[in-house]
């Protein structure tokens, strides 16, 4: 009887260790990549000339917004989370981004997206715009779609970096 209990305990211990190993491996089954703001690509017709500062990308225009698409690598299943770090030096306008997963199929554009998130207030400190999970197809590509307000009293606002974390 005692022997059976010891055996059962050992089995339970082994099962727990196995589950722990599986849990650790699952916990590590994510793939996060960070990118410098300079990886963003301007689009639109009005203002396509950004300013770069330590590889952060800023809007030097005093009147025009800067619109950017910031691509990210898709090499796993889908997006689990992400963030964009911004420096918002405009007094009343914000840096705004959304996270998208887009693909083209069957004569249509399909996409998973998040609503926009915006910076708050005005500060020389960076703020982090956090994003949750986004679905994906195997052929989808990821990008943040952002806009940076014009200068305010000569101060430029920037996107300093961004990240996408994928789950397998």
């Amino acid at each position: 009887m005692r022997h059976h209990r010891i055996l059962a305990s050992v089995k339970g211990l082994l099962a727990a260790v196995g589950l722990m190993i599986i849990g650790v491996s699952q916990a590590h089954a994510v793939d996060g990549k960070e990118y410098a703001g300079s990886a963003c690509v301007p689009y639109g017709t009005n203002n396509r000339y950004p300013s770069y500062n330590f590889s952060a990308i800023g809007n030097p225009s005093a009147t025009q917004w800067l619109y950017l698409d910031c691509p990210a690598v898709h090499d796993a299943r889908s997006i689990s989370s992400g963030w964009v770090r911004v420096m918002d030096l405009h007094y009343y306008s914000d840096v705004t981004c959304s996270l998208n997963s887009i693909y083209f199929s069957g004569g249509a554009t399909w996409g998973w997206g998040t609503p926009e998130r915006s910076s708050v207030g005005s500060s020389a400190n960076t703020q982090q715009l956090a994003f949750g999970g986004v679905g994906a197809s195997d052929i989808a590509h990821y990008y943040y779609s952002c806009r940076i307000p014009p200068t305010f009293n000569g101060n430029l606002s920037y996107i300093t970096s961004y990240q996408v974390i994928e789950n397998d």
């Binding site: 889908s78 693909y103 554009t109 996409g111 609503p115 949750g132």
Partner: protein
């Protein structure tokens, strides 16, 4: 009797001696043949022994060959069994991730596009099923629909998007919109993300040929959209 009997006895004795001599000479002449007979006999015996040894060796050799043949057949059976086991393992591993990855890597671009389109429509069916399965939430449904209409009605004529229909249930909303020909599908997508009035996941289909065919599924804040498992 005396003289004549003696002569006859002497003659008989001589004749006997002659016969004995002839017999002995004959015996002497035949003596070399005797050993020959013995050699034949002994050779015959030796041959008999050699035949027996050869037969035994042949039997042993045959036994060995039979054993080797048996081993060869056993090895063939083991190889066949291993091949069957490998085939079984391979077939068992087919539905798993590993074979899925290998299957994916073998898909041609056309096959991948077909599969993607099928998955996309499966996603639409999943979302439609979820919406139909949900009941209206009196605390949220009406308010959510009104919020969507306000958010997108404001854009009419300004952003080129028109809200045609908005319906919400408990955790999901579905919108149908059209876009003006003046704005691109990409721009309409940006407008959608810009105008979405709450933080919820969205799944969008924008028809590239029919500008009046934009469908958006939007989750309630704090909820995720159901997603087809790939």
């Amino acid at each position: 009797m005396n003289q004549q009997t003696k002569k006859i006895a002497l003659l008989g004795l001589s004749f006997s001696l002659i016969l004995i001599g002839i017999g002995l000479s004959t015996q002497w002449q035949q003596t070399p043949a005797t050993p020959s007979h013995q050699t034949v006999a002994s050779t015959s015996t030796s041959v008999t022994h050699q035949d027996q040894a050869t037969t035994e060796a042949m039997a042993a050799l045959k036994t060995q060959i039979d054993r080797m043949e048996s081993d060869r057949r056993a090895a063939e059976r083991r190889t066949a069994a291993m091949e069957r086991e490998l085939a079984l393992l391979h077939s068992q591993s087919s539905p798993t991730d590993q074979s899925q990855e290998s299957t994916e890597s073998f898909l041609s671009p056309e096959e991948e596009l077909r599969r993607t389109e099928a998955q996309s429509w499966a996603q639409v069916e999943l979302l439609e099923g979820a919406i139909h399965a949900e009941t209206a939430d009196p605390q949220w449904t009406t308010l959510a629909e009104a919020t969507l209409k306000e958010a997108f009605l404001n854009t009419q004529g300004e952003d080129g998007l028109q809200l045609l229909e908005a319906s919400c249930r408990t955790t999901l909303c579905r919108m149908k919109l059209s876009r003006d020909e003046s704005i691109s599908p990409g721009e309409s997508f940006r407008q959608l993300t810009h105008r979405t009035p709450w933080q919820g996941q969205s799944f969008v289909r924008i028809d590239l040929e029919n500008s009046a065919d934009i469908v958006v599924y939007l989750s309630r804040e704090g909820y995720s959209l159901p997603q087809v498992t790939q």
